[in-house]
Symmetry: C2
Subunit: 353 residues, 2 copies
């Protein structure tokens, strides 16, 4: 039993819409030879609004890797603390009730990690196990739920806290005028989110009970989604070849579902897909023959917040809780995609007593 309870998703205060962002980029790259293409492609992202850690003028002025990483540390710890306190309070738990703390975050680098800071600052038990992960990008949220599922298989009465800290705006590189980078600058949003994964659900608990998990690494895909690490920080790189990966993952998802129920993916009651971008969702629709409604919550998250990296699956899951349409026994799937090309998938049942 590993029950994913209602997530908390918190967005920083600074908002920017698509039109504002197009204007900002137009000012920054006034002589871009392919500007019309860039602008058309940005409009096609279907990302209408995003929240950013800082006002856009600060985001686009690269103040150096050191400054940015300090901002990441200070604001990341502050927002992770707020999110942790809210999750614990919502679950009527104390820090001492947490046995394993997972922090996933690919937009800054700290040693000691955020797990260590949170355990110390919030008076978690000194023997709380820590699992800090930086290198799994957008796949890290579903990855963490899969690892929590395994952990709870070993320790059925334990509780896991997952926190995702993603400030992709700290990766804005003002000298990078590649078309794919300009699009990415309008795609990713900032958010801090998290949830508790419980070994022993209590009476009245509602949530997503993960039952089966799977992982996938695509061969020779290291250039699909990647960072270049430079003195100016992490430089996000995206190869459009990544779009062809979904056709490899679709049969893995089908197999995971078929192995445990006689449903196909459209028969499932809920679908929690990483948004990646519009094209990734289109590929999912196409390769899984999905009814459009089954990606509607992912499209909604993308439209309102952009791709919040490892936090997307928590945002989409949160919409499932908020919609109040889920019934006890509903079946669903979760899938997220990340660097190189990696996928983390799980399948399970909605619990509502």
């Amino acid at each position: 039993m590993s029950l994913v309870t209602k997530p908390t998703v918190v967005f920083p205060n600074h908002q920017i819409n698509q039109k504002q962002m197009i204007d900002v980029l137009k000012d920054l790259f006034p002589y871009h030879p392919k500007w019309d293409t860039v602008e058309r492609m940005i409009r096609n992202t279907q990302v209408e609004n995003r929240n950013l850690l800082s006002p856009i003028n600060q985001v686009v002025t690269h103040p150096g890797f050191e400054y940015r990483n300090k901002l990441y540390k200070d604001q990341g710890l502050k927002m992770a603390t707020e999110v942790t306190q809210k999750i614990l309070s919502d679950n009527k738990m104390k820090p001492k009730d947490i046995d394993l703390l997972i922090v996933v975050s690919c937009t800054g680098f700290l040693m000691p990690s955020l797990t260590s800071h949170l355990i110390s600052d919030l008076d978690f038990r000194p023997n709380t196990k820590q699992l800090p992960v930086v290198q799994l990008g957008c796949a890290a949220g579903a990855w963490a739920l899969n690892r929590a599922h395994e952990y709870i298989k070993a320790y059925p009465d334990h509780n896991v806290l997952l926190v995702s800290v993603e400030f992709s705006s700290l990766l804005f590189q003002p000298q990078d005028d590649k078309i794919s980078s300009l699009i990415s600058n309008c795609l990713f949003g900032d958010a801090v989110s998290g949830c508790i994964i419980k070994g022993i659900p209590e009476n009245g608990d509602e949530g997503y009970l993960i039952e089966n998990i799977d992982s996938y690494v695509k061969k020779d895909s290291d250039h699909y989604i990647k960072y270049d690490v430079k003195s100016t920080g992490f430089h996000f790189g995206l190869d459009k070849e990544v779009m062809h990966s979904i056709k490899d993952v679709a049969p893995i998802m089908e197999k995971l579902i078929n192995g445990y129920s006689n449903k196909n993916v459209n028969d499932l009651d809920f679908h929690i897909f990483h948004t990646g971008g519009r094209k990734i969702l289109d590929e999912l629709v196409s390769n899984l023959d999905l009814v459009e409604e089954n990606v509607s919550k992912s499209r909604e998250s993308l439209k309102n917040h952009g791709n919040i990296a490892s936090g997307v699956i928590l945002d989409v899951l949160n919409h499932e809780f908020n919609s109040k349409t889920r019934k006890n026994g509903d079946k669903g799937i979760m899938a997220a995609f990340g660097p190189g090309f990696t996928a983390e998938i799980n399948h399970g049942t909605w619990i509502k007593n």
Copy 2:
């Protein structure tokens, strides 16, 4: 059952002894106001030899974070590949036999991570689970064995491969003349190492069967062992307060042992301690009332290779295999210490059929 089998530890070719390193630093900091203190403290490290990824002249010439991280990627992947192939061959296994691949490495940053590269390059199963960890420094080796132990508790017939890639020489900062940094420049060594952790030991297998594990994070210790992240890369920082942490960990070790056997730490047959540095080992001797012989293998590793970060516990464990003095049923402890101040501890039995 989680049996840690014989590690492979590989050192890069470029060697430097203590005297040579003192001469190099003397040339680099000819006007250091406290040079005599620095030289005396370097002599006190008891580190006589180290292996470095590159010739010392390349190490001390900072060619930029981007260049260094590329070196980290190319050479890290090359050596991790060699180590992985040797471990698999020693264990008569194929890549397809590995269910979880853990790579721990705190001296460079890659996305996709080394786990992803190894799975792709060496034809691991595409559904091999990956656990790449950067932020746990010197504690990461024992941390990984503890996580492997938990994983195998959930999946008793699975196999875990652990690889540690540590090139601390890539963190040399030629403008940093703090005394603690100059000492650190003479303390850390480079190595790539690894081992397989088996769920089901086969007839004839020898190894360390982990039975009990514990973790510890010291409150308000984030400045003890840390990185500052700058445009020039990771800057290692060490506060001498860290020396006082061992007194907190010693009773945790005693408790872990007493909880499962009626032995005290000196009664154990083998002791696999992270070397940290001479002073950390002295603190262990003092706080655990250890017979000096029980830290001799750790002192030996420190003397010949320096502190090879997450790989130390694999090197010391390897000495236990090579010494051929271990008998079936021998009891032992492993402990490693890392950033902020964190400790990972385990306790178990030597298996030899």
